[in-house]
Symmetry: C2
Subunit: 188 residues, 2 copies
DNA sequence: TGTACATGACTGTCCAGACAGATTACTAAA
DNA sequence: TTTAGTAATCTGTCTGGACAGTCATGTACA
């Protein structure tokens, strides 16, 4: 057997990319990412064929994390509103603890390096939340509004909320509550 | 007097930039913008010192247009909700007629080429709408929520609405109504 | 006729990705 | 346990292309 590729190194590259993207944006040289990860820039390309590939993988990784964080300790038996508040709190906590990951994800989301296949795969990761949202939508004032619109709305309110929490962490809990209540008024 | 700089040419550059940004993103070569505007690439730099400068100017120009479109035929005497619906309809119409400008503006907004001074100047252009929004906020369930948060929320709902309208123009009017009603439930 | 704009070839810089040689993890025969 | 063999990764230098901005020359307006 030949020399194996290390998962650890792959993760170090993804982590490094996250950090570098936050400070330098998506135009950051691969060289910088490699250096930050503690490897030669050439090695980066054995783990990710192209820079674009790296960004797409990172997008999925971050989206994945965001989805699984949201569902942590999910209260299966609680009522719909409590379930929603739960997810919201999880997101808030995550945003406060990993502001870099969130920033990087935001940059990747608006980038056109991310292919539509990657985006679709990303959506699939969020399907559990989508189903929950669907149950809220179909019973409220937005029952005749396309689901895609409702998803977009939820995402933007969530984003705005997390921004506010990060910008003014002292009242984070309050902002979190304000955000989810605003969403709830909108769709329930 | 020497040969004068032409305002027309300046506008042609800004228009060209809008179009090129939509199809190629902000990394579009200045060469392409110049060609699209029908001038030599060198000339672009007599009108805008740097590429960054061009983008900042374009951002302001678009923001300006968006603000003035919003206030067109403003019903000074109507009640608050009607005034808001009016603005919303104007935005919708604009989005349908100038989808390119909207896309370009969206790209510029998230770019870090746009300085904070430019952003502040951009906000000033929207102050009329801000004051209106303030009157709604201070009388509703969000009266204890920071204005900055409310502005962000309005912007995201507006964005989501316009996206939906462009994506499915047949039911644009409906989507427009759905959007503003969602906003209204949220803050009034 | 002077002054500023217009032009497009040109330059210096930057960077993604290739490459050639060094290194490593692992296997299997001795 | 040692050793030789193998196939992959790792490294850092190198290259080819792209691109923002310059500049020398030409041109048009007052």
């Amino acid at each position: 057997m030949p020399r194996p590729r290390s998962d650890d190194k792959r993760n170090r590259i993804l982590d490094a990319a996250t950090r570098v993207i936050v400070t330098q944006g998506l135009s950051a040289p691969t060289m910088g990412i490699a250096k930050e990860a503690g490897i030669a820039n050439g090695s980066l390309f054995t783990y990710f064929e192209t820079k674009s590939e790296l960004f797409n993988q990172l997008y999925l990784e971050l989206k994945q994390e965001m989805a699984s964080v949201a569902m942590k300790d999910f209260p299966t038996e609680a009522d719909l509103q409590d379930q929603f508040f739960h997810i919201w709190r999880n997101w808030g906590t995550w945003a406060l603890h990993s502001p870099e990951k969130r920033k990087a994800l935001a940059q990747l989301t608006v980038s056109d390096e991310i292919t539509s296949e990657t985006r679709i795969a990303g959506h699939r990761l969020m399907s559990a939340i989508g189903e929950l949202l669907e149950r809220v939508r179909s019973a409220g004032p937005m029952r005749k509004v396309p689901m895609s619109f409702v998803i977009t709305l939820m995402n933007s309110v969530a984003d705005a909320t997390m921004d506010q929490m990060i910008q003014d962490p002292k009242h984070a809990k309050n902002h979190c509550k304000n955000g989810v209540e605003a969403l709830w008024r909108m769709l329930a």
